[in-house]
Amino acid sequence: MRASNLNKILARISCDTVLFASVLFAPWWLTLLLTLTFLMLFQNFFEAFIAGLIIDALYGASSLNLYGFHLFYSAIFFTMWVLATIARSKMRLSIL
């Protein structure tokens, strides 16, 4: 494996760790900000959707409102992921 690829993988794993730690410990807006940043930095950042699922599983309040819909954050993060992928394909931005 080439060194540059290894660096990319390591960077992605580090960012994943930061993102999932923020889900557990940081305010929701910081998680959202980090997700947006990582979505623009990495190609196909599907971890955003996983983070959304975890937020829904941990803090979700389906019985409170939203007409019983469980996956509020998953849906938002999924949409962000799709939009970021489309945006990246239109731009020449490719950092990692």
Partner: protein, 265 residues
């Protein structure tokens, strides 16, 4: 036969397969809510040790920085705290008499108060949303849906709405969209209070009712537990109602421990 010498272009990765897989997961979780509950239970079981470790680390850091504080600031703080304690003692004069009366009345009504289960708060707003908190005990400790959650002896903060083996979600009375029946003010006026988020509640009552800032909002029923105090009152000449804004007596962003009160048998 002709072969192109140009290198083959790799098809661009669009991640359509991943998108479809993610949509499938969401569809399964929506159509079969039971599968999402299982996922939620597993996620909570994994997260609780991390939360506990995080709280311990946070506690160690805060005690470390406390040691580093300047001596003078500690002396000043000590003096302030002494004054605060003296003020609270004055405020609490007569509390014992009232508490004794409360016990007697409760016994008269044949309503035995159950012992609470002590719980640590592992996640609170603004990590959690919708004015909910997560506590580190669940069904294994006897927590059930609907159990009342309180702080101290006389402040109720919410009820348990989801339980897992080792953790539970508590919905605060201030949760947006939640309506709670309360007794307001010294005359115990029965009204409904709506959660506004951030520890705030709002109630709209007729103008004629005499309610003042600082009045207590007590949970309806015989528990006598306070859930909020009147913070401000908005009156409009053209409106026959007045808006009563209330806030929880405890900061929902700083709660560390709570008590879960089991339902009476």
């Amino acid at each position: 036969m002709a072969f192109s010498l140009q290198p083959k272009r790799k098809p661009k990765k669009t991640g359509k397969g991943l998108f479809l897989f993610a949509l499938m997961i969401m569809a399964v979780f929506t159509i079969f809510p039971g599968s999402f509950v299982s996922f939620s239970t597993a996620t909570n079981a994994v997260a609780v040790p991390f939360w506990n470790a995080g709280n311990s680390v946070r506690g160690s850091f805060s005690s470390f920085f406390t040691v580093l504080r300047f001596k003078n600031s500690l002396i000043v703080e000590n003096q302030k705290l002494k004054e605060e304690v003296a003020r609270l003692k004055r405020d609490l004069e007569g509390y014992d008499v009232l508490a004794q009366q409360n016990i007697e009345y409760s016994e008269m009504l044949l309503q035995k108060k159950e012992d609470g289960i002590f719980a640590g708060v592992v996640a609170r707003p603004n990590v959690t949303e919708y004015d909910t908190i997560l506590i580190d005990i669940g069904t294994e400790a006897g927590v059930k849906k609907g159990n009342l959650v309180q702080i101290d002896d006389n402040v109720a903060i919410g009820t348990v709405y989801e339980t897992y083996p080792y953790s539970s979600k508590v919905r605060l009375f201030s949760s947006p969209g939640r309506t709670t029946d309360i007794f307001l003010g010294p005359k115990n006026i029965a009204v409904s209070a709506n959660g506004e988020g951030g520890g705030a509640l709002l109630s709209e009552v007729p103008k004629e009712l005499d309610i003042k800032e600082g009045d207590a909002a007590v949970l309806s029923g015989s528990s006598g537990l306070i859930i909020a105090y009147v913070n401000s009152i908005e009156k409009n000449e053209n409106d026959s109602f007045q808006k009563i804004r209330m806030t929880s007596p405890v900061s929902i962003f700083e709660m560390k421990f709570v008590q879960v009160i089991p339902a009476p048998k």
